[in-house]
Subunit: 374 residues, 2 copies
């Protein structure tokens, strides 16, 4: 059903059916250029995370502006990127299971495909699969930067894995995956700065230990939209993996800059376009975008057009907006732009981006890695 | 990418790629029959909600067991159902906007399509669209049962709308939409019983007022998996809209029966099949199912195979399980069944059901209304 897009090129925004995932192209392009400009001259590479957008069209735009490739989290995401023309993908994740490894190796025949490990058994399985497929794979050791998710501890445990990778005939040690996810949404600049200072220390210590043991480590990759300025200036990180900067979201919008004001280096470009479908009381407007149209894990969306309205509660297909006298409109049939609380899981609910320039639909891009969880 | 299913018929469960949406067919069929049996003889019709499963294959199975049709929330869901062979759909929702109304009327040419209203403007627009399309549409008045979402207040406001429907040449007044959503997850039997007693009173009062004003009201439709036994026994409700009973979920599993024990009338049949992809410490196992593989709005999933393990935290593509000495396994590469916190938004993340009988894949069903938000 949803193979049909909710809009056609040339339509006015008002005609776009709801809920739809709208990208304000002027803002989006400004965000893209802004990070590209900041990275240029900082002596680091940019490898944006495609888990945010899941769309090869956007990946290629990022690469046109200087990105060396993209990151993915899943083999199926990497497939979507490679099939869409991206020739350099780092899977910033551990890949476990025979089918996934076979598919990963098949991709490695037509693109540069990197992957991460945090266990000797993963290395053994990667070696077997790479040998079977007759490919050589660059492998990163993931180190735990404090998020306590995947990754070995910095230092000796990372060295032990790097040695094993070096011993595997079809694998090459390609560096450290050193992403500090839990630092991205620390609210103050000082907190983020301090967290990344700790990450930089761990990464540098591990790099130096590897080097002292005859294993050169010329790639330390990590960083996100919340902290990249620290990694970029560290002299240790060599590659940045920012993803959300292209869209921003309500949660990232709550991060504070050095001066204590909400961050403004990137602006919201991604919206869920929704219709007021019921207006049962003065205090209540119901929109047609609920849990199946918005990622709610980082809080509800904000109402871009009517900041005085509050998205109070989501059910599966409905959102309840609280209305006050400060709210100007929101009558039955009105359409509004909602800024998602969290962009990544929101994008994953849609098959199409509707790109608008001003009030006109200029682009309709397929989200080919939507639902690519395996 | 995800047009490729994660399994093939005849595979063993162990071979199914992860994350995948698994249905235990024995349990699923037992749930289907159990509600069909309970409804039969209670003098009410069953019209299950298809927003739960989004799959015409399942809708037709429900109708084979006596359901009169299905409910949907969205026009695009109704399209998926009608195109999949369902001939009777009630859209339990207000439909606003010219494109949606045209699509709704197109469906009404080949199936019985009902719809709800809570505003005179919706009635005027429905009449215009029905007249244009040359169809006659059954229209329900939605009344607010206490959930404070859509719906007019019971009594006079409902009468006013029913009159307007009756005055519209291409619409027929078809009854009351009287679903009490917020009662479904009240934890104790007494709380749910009391909430539905109030709903029954409001519905009966409205029905009697309509009748006293010459408007017969022979259909009062509502009820969900948490409360249907009360509506079924009310003598007022004529149609039940249960959806989740086919799958159950961790949240419904926390409802208590009359005896204060967790409800057992339906059993979990829906699981997210996930792989342990990282095992960095004794206390931590990371699975490959996070926010893009699980609806987390009603809490995290439970671990079906290893109840001693706790799904502690979800990020976009990862789930962190806390492990204790009471946990028996969960080594790298192990696969586990997770019971989603909330089935509806979880289903909406997947394109395929993998139906298993014992440890063997018996069915792979497309979720054709996945992403059908408009």
């Amino acid at each position: 059903m949803t193979t049909r897009p909710p809009a056609e090129i040339g339509m006015s925004l008002d005609e776009v059916d709801t809920p739809a995932l709208i990208v304000d192209l002027d803002v989006f392009e400004r965000n893209l250029r802004r990070l590209a400009d900041r990275v240029q001259g900082a002596g680091v590479r940019l490898r944006p995370h495609a888990k945010t957008h899941k769309c090869p069209v956007i990946a290629l735009k990022q690469m046109e502006l200087g990105a060396v490739g993209v990151c993915c989290q899943k083999v199926s995401e990497a497939e979507a990127m490679v099939y869409g023309g991206v020739k350099d993908v780092l899977v910033t994740n551990e890949i476990v299971g025979r089918q996934k490894l076979r598919r990963l190796m098949a991709l490695a025949g037509s693109a540069r495909i990197g992957v991460c490990v945090d266990d000797p058994a993963q290395i053994a399985d990667l070696e077997t699969a790479a040998a079977e497929a007759g490919v050589t794979l660059p492998v990163h050791v993931e180190i735990n930067m404090g998020g306590n998710r995947c990754g070995v501890e910095p230092g000796e445990p990372a060295l032990a894995l790097a040695r094993r990778i070096g011993d595997a005939p079809h694998l090459t040690f390609a560096g450290l995956q050193a992403y500090h996810g839990s630092a991205q949404h620390l609210r103050t600049w000082d907190e983020r700065q301090k967290a990344i200072a700790g990450a930089v220390e761990k990464a540098a210590m591990t790099r130096d230990l590897l080097s002292a043991n005859g294993i050169p480590c010329d790639n330390i990759t990590g960083a996100g939209t919340g902290t990249f300025e620290f990694e970029a200036a560290s002299g240790v990180y060599t590659e940045l993996q920012c993803g959300s900067y292209i869209f921003m979201d309500a949660d990232y919008g709550r991060n504070l800059d050095r001066d204590g004001a909400p961050t403004r280096q990137f602006e919201p470009s991604l919206f869920v376009w929704a219709t007021v479908m019921s207006r049962p009381t003065e205090e209540r407007a119901i929109v047609d975008a609920g849990l199946k149209a918005l990622g709610m894990d980082s809080g509800p969306p904000t109402v871009w057009d009517e900041p005085a309205a509050t998205y109070e509660r989501a059910s599966d297909e409905h959102g309840r907006l609280g209305i006050t006298t400060a709210t100007n409109r929101l009558k039955l049939g009105d359409k509004v732009k909602l800024v998602p609380g969290h962009c990544d899981p929101t994008v994953n609910l849609y098959d199409w981006y509707v790109g608008i320039r001003g009030e006109r639909v200029e682009a309709v891009w397929p989200i080919t890695a939507r639902g690519a969880v395996y």
